[in-house]
């Protein structure tokens, strides 16, 4: 989302020159008045809390006596030392779910963009419509789908696939619920539309004649995909993976509803530290570590994928 839009603003602003010198003061202030309320809202309720959170993370004290800033950076080390498995799990689950979303979402986006023809709108509606049922209800439905006695587990058992997944450590015994598989399955499901929509948008922009041109220049369909379609869809791939990975890494709902205590992610820890244990400094430190980790990964990722080079 950022990558495709970033270059646009300065250009369009230049397209309509408004010479600052000549405009009267009243007119010159218009943009600031327009910005003021919204920006204030974001500064007070988004930026300031982050700063506040930063200071909380280095406070010590207790609920009864109150918290004071004591520059206690040890909270970060303690938090990392105690909860590193949850961190690793979050990044791992979110990473796998993102990869699965890309793998599953790409054919669907491709189908809508190039193959659906007059069914395009119908398929589009079917992709968006699940949004309108509360995602918590839909996540609970996975409890039914993956239930121990249900048809999915039955089929997997009959095919002895659960033995394989158990051996790999992603399921346990002859069940799917309360295992990493269920959590990853839920994450993948929940964030799939966030992958499909940007992918579709960037695929739809590709001139179909480019496919024909590639075929005309001796590229087989697979090569055409590798050399033309996929590179041209990179903005969608980058936007989709970010839109999937970031919320998935901070999610605690799927782990809570579909997993057991062994699948807790960092979101679960922050939530319980904040809402149940009421250890605010630790919750603040954990969210800062999560934020920093995600920002770092996203930055490296955007650099690596080199999207600024694309149209």
């Amino acid at each position: 989302m950022s990558t495709t839009e970033a270059p646009a603003p300065p250009e369009t602003a230049d397209a309509e020159p408004l010479p600052l010198r000549k405009t009267p003061t009243r007119k010159r202030l218009i943009p600031y008045w327009l910005l003021l309320p919204g920006m204030l809202w974001l500064i007070v309720f988004f930026a300031a809390p982050l700063v506040y959170q930063a200071s909380t993370s280095i406070q010590t004290g207790s609920l009864e006596e109150g918290f004071k800033v004591t520059w206690h950076f040890a909270t970060y080390w303690d938090a990392l030392g105690e909860y590193w498995p949850q961190f690793v799990r979050s990044v791992g689950y979110a990473g796998i779910a993102t990869a699965l979303c890309l793998l599953l979402g790409y054919p669907l986006a491709y189908l809508i963009a190039f193959k659906a023809g007059r069914w395009r709108n119908v398929v589009m509606i079917l992709v968006i419509a699940p949004f309108f049922t509360s995602f918590l209800i839909r996540t609970l439905a996975w409890k039914t789908i993956l239930a121990d006695g249900g048809p999915v587990v039955g089929a997997l058992n009959a095919l002895h696939l659960l033995d394989v997944t158990s051996a790999l450590g992603i399921t346990e015994g002859h069940r799917v619920l309360a295992t990493p598989l269920a959590v990853v399955c839920g994450l993948t499901y929940n964030f799939l539309p966030f992958m499909v929509l940007p992918l579709y948008t960037s695929l739809e922009r590709i001139d179909p004649r480019l496919h024909e041109a590639a075929g005309d220049l001796y590229a087989r369909p697979a090569t055409t995909f590798r050399k033309v379609t996929f590179p041209l869809s990179m903005p969608g791939v980058v936007a989709g993976t970010l839109l999937t990975f970031i919320p998935a890494a901070g999610d605690y709902i799927n782990a809570e509803l579909l997993g057991s205590t062994d699948q807790k992610m960092i979101g679960n820890v922050i939530q319980s530290q904040f809402l149940r244990v009421l250890d605010y400094p630790t919750a603040a430190a954990l969210s800062f570590i999560l934020m920093a980790a995600i920002l770092a990964m996203v930055t490296i990722y955007i650099r690596k994928s080199g999207t600024e080079d694309l149209v």
Binding site: A15, A141, T144
Partner: protein, 282 residues
């Protein structure tokens, strides 16, 4: 070479009866449809289980067919209250975020000013941040300011995270609009205010509408941020979350299904109306 021979030789592979070849040719379509199935399956389950009559407190296993829940959707304590609260918050949050977001979009798309980069960053960050981080930060602030959690804290939080999405949607629309349209309006004797009301706003309307729709959906369905900032107030997602622990009434499936059907119906009606309009004045 005889013409008839080559014709049949040429047509054979095009109609090709080989199932393996058919599979290879349609593999992308089949994979896409499978993904679509994966996306739709939970909705189907929710719908089917809205007709269930479970034995225990949890509606996870099929027992008997029954329309009891449909006959009495508010039959569970607090359910419809939480639904009403969620709708109310979503409406106000949509209104707030749409007004503030549209103003920012116009400033970004139509004016030059200092600190543009800063404004863009501040718009972008909430969308790139895990919800749980925003939620905990804001809750910390409220907590320390001694503000009581409830309706207002939820509303403030919802406007905050919906704002960026509105800006993105509206800005894209206004940016793609030809600035010469506004110049043309002024050339045709429209004052700046008339230009805005009669030209700019109508053209930006689809962007504003999609931003508002997105806000409503995001606010109505939000759980994580609400979870941190609601105190003891129970919105619909909070109710569902609580019921996952205490026992899931069939009524939540009824409401989930009804929302799904209403949404699909709205989209379909909109689509048909749009098609008809397109046909009557091409």
């Amino acid at each position: 070479m005889a013409a008839t021979d080559t014709t049949t030789a040429a047509t054979a592979p095009r109609t090709g009866g080989n199932p393996l070849r058919w599979l290879r040719r349609n593999i992308v379509t089949l994979a896409g449809l499978a993904t679509l199935g994966y996306l739709i399956l939970p909705n189907v389950v929710v719908m089917v289980f809205s007709f269930n009559k479970p034995n225990g407190r949890f509606n996870y296993q099929w027992q008997h067919f029954s329309t009891d829940a449909w006959a009495d959707p508010c039959g569970v304590a607090d359910l419809c209250g939480s639904l009403g609260l969620s709708l109310q918050i979503a409406l106000w949050a949509t209104l707030g975020a749409t007004v503030l977001g549209t103003m920012i979009s116009f400033a970004l798309a139509r004016y030059r000013f200092r600190a543009r980069a800063g404004v863009n960053t501040l718009i972008f960050l909430p969308m790139a941040m895990p919800e749980v981080v925003m939620a905990a930060s804001l809750a910390t602030l409220f907590l320390n300011m001694g503000i009581e959690f409830g309706f207002w804290t939820i509303l403030i939080a919802h406007i905050m995270f919906c704002l960026s999405f509105v800006v993105t949607a509206v800005k894209a629309r206004v940016m793609s609009m030809d600035p010469r349209l506004e110049q043309a309006a002024q050339d045709l004797y429209a004052s700046p205010l008339q230009t805005f009301l009669r030209v700019t706003l109508p053209i930006a309307a689809p962007g504003i509408a999609s931003g508002a729709l997105l806000s409503f959906a995001l606010s109505f369905d939000d759980f994580i941020i609400t979870n941190f900032n609601a105190g003891s107030t129970v919105t619909f997602p909070m109710f569902v979350w609580g019921s996952a622990q205490r026992g899931t009434p069939v009524q939540i499936n009824v409401i989930g299904t009804a929302m799904f059907l209403v949404a699909v119906l709205c989209v379909l009606v909109g689509q048909v109306a749009g098609n008809r309009r397109k046909r009557s004045n091409p």
